[in-house]
Subunit: 415 residues, 2 copies
């Protein structure tokens, strides 16, 4: 039972530049915010911070939704909370699937017991809105679920008009924006979608472990039909719901709303340090200004793409719909993809991403998001990649990647 | 869509002494550990830290179990992961219920679709082992689930022989040790129980948001029968499971084990800062020595109890089975319980706890755990409580609480 605690020293990770599809390096302000003292969960200061988080995330989601808060878990926890709370067993759900995370929606919905219909695009493309409309007309879904940016394919699904299509068919809508929140525009109200979820560990520049969520009043009412109060905290006169229960307690958004509301009904114990982190991520994003922030991510993506092409590499996916914050690029013939990633890490302390499923061993995924969507980090990554490719015997024009990236970054725009 | 980010200033919570039933103040080393740089999730340094966490939590759980790791969420996430992965719909589950958290097990199991049997004790008592044996004989459960320490009642269920009883009846066993881990002895192997889960925010002195878990090989095999690999990450030649699916993706322990194993199959993105926190909590506990740590909690509980009794207050619950780290005490007649809590907070910046359900407005719950199970914090709490009671007109002997607490703390034992 004994173990020398000195066997594992004080935490001291290498300072690695994370230019993969996420997680990325957290902003130093976020790391510092997490070292603030804890508070009791019903302390007025603590509930005050919770209310601030609600206010801070509304502009980030592009919404006025009252119910804008955090789910305590990674981005995937937010997805499951949204789906298990929106969807009842036997509901028809249409999944817009164009990558690994569309498949994830499907697999979560299978477990919920939904009847799943899909409308699909090959990896590297998005689903045209008219095909979504046709699919809705064909299967009469109660809920339509999609991904905004799917990092597995680097594609961003256009969502203008998406919510309206769902609404006209009487369906509720869900969007997973884990990979775009804080880096590409979210417009929950203008898109007219019902639930959007995200995570901190990509464009928001925080650690994984907290999932921001926004819920329309319409969806809140829908979820409220399955609202219950736990027996152990039910006090005299408190009314419990009469409907069926949501399939999960931890992910029961009706209970989580009761906890974040003035009722302050105890559910989980809010993950205080992660809430501090989420709050600081939002303050940084709003302090920069969302328009400026989205422009910075777009510049970084443009510069990265220009640099990769100047090396003679081929960028993956439909150019019109590529995410700004992560770029897929084909591993050239004769180059050992994992060997390059290893050399990047060991020689330059830079991480670039591998790929999943059908793209495994075919592309690298190179991110530039949040605190890392900066000109010097893009240039460092390109210069290092050029060196590692050359070591593998790949012939490429010396120095042109960096020059092209500098040229692609808009004059005068901060980095 | 715009919001002045300066509206909400830099994070700056008041420095409040949290002497409730948890969360409590985190150890400063834990807060500092969270400000370390992040790493990519498959970075060898990161997977190295994951392996260290596995090694560090084995002695804390009192186990040699290979599968000892973290669930990314609050303690309640660990409970739901254990239950949804152990229990299939239609399974008979026996719940040993003696408080609010026993009720929580029941309510999670209802959602899973289990057939629930209970063996109960009134709030303030525990369930005798022979009654558990009778209940097992009566209902032939597939799983038996209990709470170790239920903070709602301050009772700790004795667990010597518990696992053996379950084993003899062919049942798997689950113990929620959220409120005792790091403060009272856990002996997963000696108790012969299959899954034990915890949280950081009580005796481990960390923030809420990470749930340590240990799983016996027998339980891992049972869970493995419902193992699947997500379609989106399935590569050529990878074998998917053939059995039914676990009801949740996020809480699918088979997938979480695949992620923590050498296979490193992607599931969620590990909550890195919370993992750093969990690692530091364990290093601190093992550095102090578990026996010394349990003795310190016992001393703090004994001192608190002696002090409360010296004030003329009545301690709640069966003295033989009270948890060492949280003490329930009746609110005296004529005293406004919430008024006292408010005065404690506003005058002394000390938080003590209210209560739930049948004990609401009847008792306070006063904790002394983790970084707060220290002599001076017990004495400060008692002195402040004495002042606040006197302001309410409650007559009590001046200064005797502190004297009694000092007397109850063992000579020479560090605090």
């Amino acid at each position: 039972m004994s173990l020398d605690p000195h066997l594992f020293g004080e935490i001291d990770p290498p300072q690695r530049l994370l230019m993969g599809p996420g997680p990325i390096n957290a902003h130093p302000r976020v790391l510092r915010a997490m070292s603030a003292d804890l508070l009791g969960q019903f302390d007025p200061e603590m509930t005050g911070f919770m209310n601030q988080v609600m206010a801070l995330y509304r502009p980030i989601f592009g919404t006025q939704n009252r119910w804008t808060m955090l789910v305590d878990g990674t981005a995937r926890a937010g997805i499951e909370a949204a789906l298990v709370s929106l969807v009842s067993p036997g509901d028809v759900v249409l999944v817009v699937n164009f990558g690994r995370f569309g498949l994830l929606l499907t697999e979560i919905l299978q477990r919920i017991g939904a009847i799943i219909e899909t409308v699909e695009a090959p990896w590297g493309e998005v689903v045209p809105m008219d095909r979504i409309a046709d699919a809705i007309a064909r299967c009469h879904p109660k809920i339509v679920a999609t991904i905004h940016g799917d990092t597995s394919t680097t594609m961003a699904q256009p969502l203008e008009g998406f919510g309206e299509l769902c609404r006209q068919a009487g369906a509720l809508s869900y969007v997973d924006a884990t990979a775009t929140i804080g880096g590409m525009e979210l417009a929950a109200d203008r898109w007219d979608v019902d639930i959007v979820t995200g995570g901190l560990q990509k464009c928001l520049g925080g650690p994984s472990g907290s999932a921001p969520i926004t819920i329309s009043d319409r969806a809140a009412e829908h979820i409220g039909r399955r609202r219950h109060v736990e027996q152990g905290i039910r006090s005299a006169g408190m009314v419990d719901g009469a409907g069926p229960r949501i399939g999960s307690n931890y992910f029961d958004l009706a209970m989580i709303m009761d906890y974040w509301s003035e009722k302050r009904l105890n559910h989980h114990t809010e993950a205080t340090s992660m809430l501090y982190a989420a709050r600081e991520c939002a303050r940084i994003a709003l302090g920069e200004g969302l328009e400026a922030r989205y422009a910075r991510h777009a510049s970084a993506g443009r510069a990265m793409t220009a640099g990769l092409r100047a090396m003679g590499l081929t960028v993956f996916g439909d150019d019109r719909y590529r995410m700004t914050n992560v770029t897929g690029v084909y591993i050239p013939d004769g180059v050992d993809g994992e060997g390059v990633r290893k050399a990047m890490r060991e020689l330059f302390e830079i991480e670039i991403g591998t790929a999943f499923g059908p793209l495994q061993s075919k592309i690298w995924r190179i991110g530039a998001m949040g605190y890392n969507a900066m000109k010097h980090k893009v240039l460092l990554t390109l210069a290092a990649l050029e060196s590692c490719l050359r070591m593998q015997g790949f012939a490429l024009p010396a120095g042109e990647a960096v020059t092209a990236a500098i040229g692609a970054w808009p004059e005068g725009q901060g980095a």
